[in-house]
Symmetry: C2
């Protein structure tokens, strides 16, 4: 990977995430992993990615414990790539990107895929809701605050 500026000084979880997965190829490798692709040659063929770039990105994802390797053949030794729990937790990021792409920059109908919620059987795009009141969250009804302010406000509200 080319030398690039570290985002550590930005001290923010979005920056930390962008540092790891804010790269076009990495996003697509993860998409493929969620769709069940596991083997180097299958990633390569599906994405049309240069082998050295794929090697580099897979190594980075393993180093950061987003993917892990598992040997599936002894002679010659061959490995496949699986999502770790940390990797599986990126589901929301990939789904949010997919939802936005479907809404604003969709592929042709023939190529459209749909997410099916197996528990109710419905096609879904997913909605982001507040875990407390179940209301939809969006940029208008939320604000980002320093954690320390929120803690102080809650403490001063105690009667």
């Amino acid at each position: 990977m080319p030398t690039r500026k570290s985002f550590e000084h930005l001290r923010c979880s979005v920056a930390n995430t962008a540092e790891l997965i804010g790269d076009r190829w990495t996003t697509l490798i993860l998409r493929d992993a969620f769709m069940g692709v596991r083997r180097f040659d299958d990633f390569q063929k599906d994405l049309g990615i240069a082998r050295n770039v794929l090697t580099d990105r897979l190594a980075m994802l393993c180093d950061n414990e987003i993917l892990l390797t598992r040997k599936y053949e002894d002679r010659p030794p061959r490995f496949e790539y699986l999502l770790t729990p940390k990797g599986k937790d990126l589901f929301d990021v990939i789904v949010a990107m997919w939802r936005w792409g479907d809404a604003w920059n969709p592929p042709a109908d023939a190529d459209l895929r749909i997410l099916v919620h197996q528990e109710c059987g419905s096609p879904t795009h997913g909605v982001v809701r507040c875990e407390h009141c179940n209301g939809d969250l969006d940029h208008r009804n939320t604000r980002l605050e320093p954690l320390l302010n929120v803690v102080a406000a809650r403490q001063s509200a105690v009667p």
Copy 2:
């Protein structure tokens, strides 16, 4: 921006989104825009980004109607950058990246920010739910299917 391979051949909404925002700096410019940053010098100062890179990314975001410019001073003419509806709709992507970063790679407490849902007043990380049954969505209880398969299955299920 350096010449790079187009992802058009991948025919997928994740690829289309990654094509536009799958870039570390672009992600952070969007984060700042959601936090209310509007002016070139403020983006530059907050991110420590090179001016030519910032110019390039802002132009790309405007070309793709994710940001728009508005003149805020006549002499000399100066412009600020605002999120369009298409840009505001990236909220879910940024929040999902932030949630994952908080869970797996958080900054120090002093730098933690928290999302507050103004309607109920609670700190929230957001959860992704099915818009039909309100169940949580994750990689285990969903599957991606070609749209045409789903349409065909629904038609054949009509009595």
